[in-house]
């Protein structure tokens, strides 16, 4: 049984001015918001500004969240997306030329789906114990094999695999039926 405070509760507490609830939301969502902003804006400086604006907006508008209309994660996603879109509209540099070739990038619907998957996964990673998050990061995104991860961390290969399995299981619990 998980005893972690839900996003819904944190948003409602933030609406009453609870600073610690707001900081918990920030700890959980700063990285997903930054990742979403980076995907959309493609510039780290402007993405940092978008994160700032997103959390300013969350702090101001938490009172408008209605838990009976849906869980907190999609509401936060919508707030972040709006702040990022506002930031994107504010950009002044216009492409000099329109490319002749059709883009092979994912369309808007696919981009939205990929963005939400990354949002939920990166949010869930924040809840893993440090040692499990570390193993997941090394196993999936460092380019190391599990044997190399074991050597690097100075722990047995079996422990690396056990932690990876435990982390996958825990992530599955955190995500639930949302994805």
């Amino acid at each position: 049984m998980r005893l972690v405070t839900s996003d819904d509760e944190l948003i409602q507490r933030a609406a009453t001015g609870d600073r610690s609830a707001f900081e918990d939301l920030y700890r959980r969502y700063a990285r997903p918001v930054f990742g979403l902003a980076l995907r959309r804006l493609g510039d780290r400086g402007r993405a940092e500004d978008a994160v700032q604006e997103t959390f300013a907006s969350i702090w101001r508008s938490a009172g408008s969240y209605k838990p009976d209309r849906g869980p907190g994660a999609p509401w936060l996603y919508a707030v972040a997306r709006n702040a990022i879109v506002d930031r994107a509209r504010a950009r002044t540099d216009i492409p000099a030329e329109i490319p002749d070739e059709p883009s092979h990038d994912a369309g808007p619907a696919d981009q939205a789906e990929q963005g939400y998957v990354a949002w939920r996964i990166h949010r869930a990673l924040e809840e893993l114990p440090e040692r499990e998050r570390e193993v997941i990061g090394l196993a999936y995104w460092s380019g190391l094999s599990q044997s190399e991860v074991a050597e690097f961390l100075g722990i047995p290969l079996g422990t690396v695999k056990t932690r990876t399995r435990a982390a996958l299981s825990r992530l599955g619990e955190i995500i639930g039926d949302d994805l």
Binding site: R19, F22, E23, Y26, R27, A30, R31, P32, F34, G35, L38, R44, G45, E48, D49, V51, Q52, E53, F55, A56, S57, W59, R60, Q114, V117, A118, R120, I121, H122, L125, E130, R133, E134, I136, G137, L138, A139, Y140, W141, S142, G143, L144, S145, Q146, E148, F152, G158, K161, T162, T164, R165, L168, S169, L171, G172, I175, L179
Partner: protein
Amino acid sequence: MSDFKDLIDADGLDPEEEARLRHVHELLVQAGPPPDLPPALEQAPDEQEAEIVQFPLLPHRRWAVAAVAAATLALLAFGGGYLTGHSKGQSSFNTSRVVPMHGSGEALALLRVSKADSAGNWPMQLEVTGLPEQPDPGAYYELWLTKNKQPVEQCGTFRVHSKTTRVRFTVPYSFKGIDGWVITKQTNGAATPGPVVLST
């Protein structure tokens, strides 16, 4: 990245549980790595900074400006990054994120970054494995922050003394726009930064 079957010990897994874990595995692959959160975003904005965005005539980037100002004061006070020594223990280090670094050879590094103190000092612990020792006493390695993948701020210097070397640094910089770290090899008398040997 390894195949799903190589990542975990699947012995004893029933098909339903294996399918559940494989689904999470596929979502992780689809999501890709989470971005490195810039140290400037490590802490939540305070209420005043959150409220100030309501007023378009007021400085829009006050939070970032305050961070730069604090970093500048800290930079003057501390005179840049410094080496705080090395330790084999990790118990006193409060890691807030872990950044792997690798290069073309067998060398690897794990950089643990802690939260900044109230003055804006960011403690880091660097653990390096496999970098060759440099017999020349005037040679050393440097840890740099990068912007647009180019070294821009030096975090500190170190020498390796065994297979695994662990050192701690503290830097007072504002990290806005920073996109990673690199380790460079510095030889006696050569221009700095030297060639990159490890990067994020």
